[in-house]
Symmetry: C2
């Protein structure tokens, strides 16, 4: 019944993001994600297991319970709503909001989030194209495939990013490769996996690294 600490919330979020649905998540994976050590994870994971937020058996890794899932989703909901607020209302850029949202996501007040959601008019996607869970934890699934997997000579719309680092986001901004933009993939260069595309009627080349971290949605025409 006791409210979760910021650390507990961060562990839950990490576990949620790392869980693929298959086997349990190892303490090393969690430690790496949180920039902490495996020994610390073992301790915390025992505590979270007692609170029924996950199941844990020695050496078997960790699996979030339903309660753990919904708790993590509530935190992610807060994170993404705040990011949306920071970009759409306060006019911060999409590369500087994540760190602030990492703090804001731990503010405790159901009413606050309800009111914020309404104030923002119930947004469905955050500034990086990630879906915002609603009050019940439901979210739309729009994000699609990597741009590097798209066949040449097809059109696509940019829907999200895989890498959320400020450096990457700033770079995309400079190249005008932002969420919602429509592009045409012309061809992929076999030598370095770079991609030639057309954006705003102008031809450009982007590196393999960028193509692999851009999510797009194929469109007809």
């Amino acid at each position: 019944m006791h409210a979760l600490s910021i650390s507990e919330e961060n562990y839950l979020k990490a576990i949620f993001h790392l869980y693929t649905g298959e086997e349990g998540i190892g303490t090393n994976a969690i430690a790496h994600h949180l920039h902490t050590k495996a020994a610390s994870v073992t301790e915390m994971v025992k505590k979270l297991a007692e609170k029924k937020l996950l199941t844990y058996e020695k050496y078997q890794g960790v699996i979030p319970t339903r309660k753990g899932f919904t708790t993590a989703l509530a935190i992610i909901r807060k994170h993404r709503l705040w990011e949306y607020f920071l970009v759409e209302k306060l006019k911060l850029s999409w590369d500087e909001v994540h760190d602030i949202a990492e703090q804001l996501e731990h503010i405790k007040s159901d009413k606050l989030i309800e009111k914020l959601d309404r104030f923002l008019d119930f947004p469905k996607l955050d500034p990086h194209g990630d879906p915002i869970p609603d009050k019940a934890g439901k979210m739309c699934v729009t994000k699609c495939c990597c741009m590097s997997e798209i066949k040449p000579n097809s059109n696509a719309k940019i829907t999200g990013v895989k890498n959320h680092s400020p450096a990457f986001l700033k770079h995309l901004e400079k190249m005008h490769l932002t969420i919602g933009k429509t592009i045409k993939i012309v061809e992929r260069n076999d030598f370095d996996q770079s991609v030639q595309l057309v954006l705003n009627h102008e031809t450009m080349h982007i590196s393999k690294e960028i193509a692999e971290n851009l999510l797009v949605h194929k469109i007809k025409r």
Copy 2:
């Protein structure tokens, strides 16, 4: 150079609020304000003295330095800007925003606060009539005397509250005794110190307790 912890910030804020400009503030006073114990205060105060945020000499109490002052003002600025946001934008009521602002005031990002201030159009007063310090720590001084000190047969405007408890604020709301309202003090009852006044052309009586916690500004006519 290291950023302050939430605890350190709360101690600084308490010290700022308790400091009258005369003698040093005792550890008991601080402990009472923060719902902690004097022994804990002694410890923390030594740490804050090392960081040059206050001066401390054994048994002599504590006095904030200039650095301590400006740091406290920056936190208060954040608190009040957030309260203004919560009431004016999110439409929370003035009795439910303080606890949320207690959390939000510790979010670290200069840019965030700058942008929030601009988004809110640089408000000068928070929902309780308290002045919001600007970026440089400057704030207007409008709050005036206690309503219980006003002479009968004079007009006044409600400018603030001394008691910030939700119970008191809710009660004021119900009585329509909110910031900005103009009233006429008719007379003070010697028996129980209650005050008779006219609000919106209607006569009403308010208890000594209310009068003592309402701040007003005398006006002509």
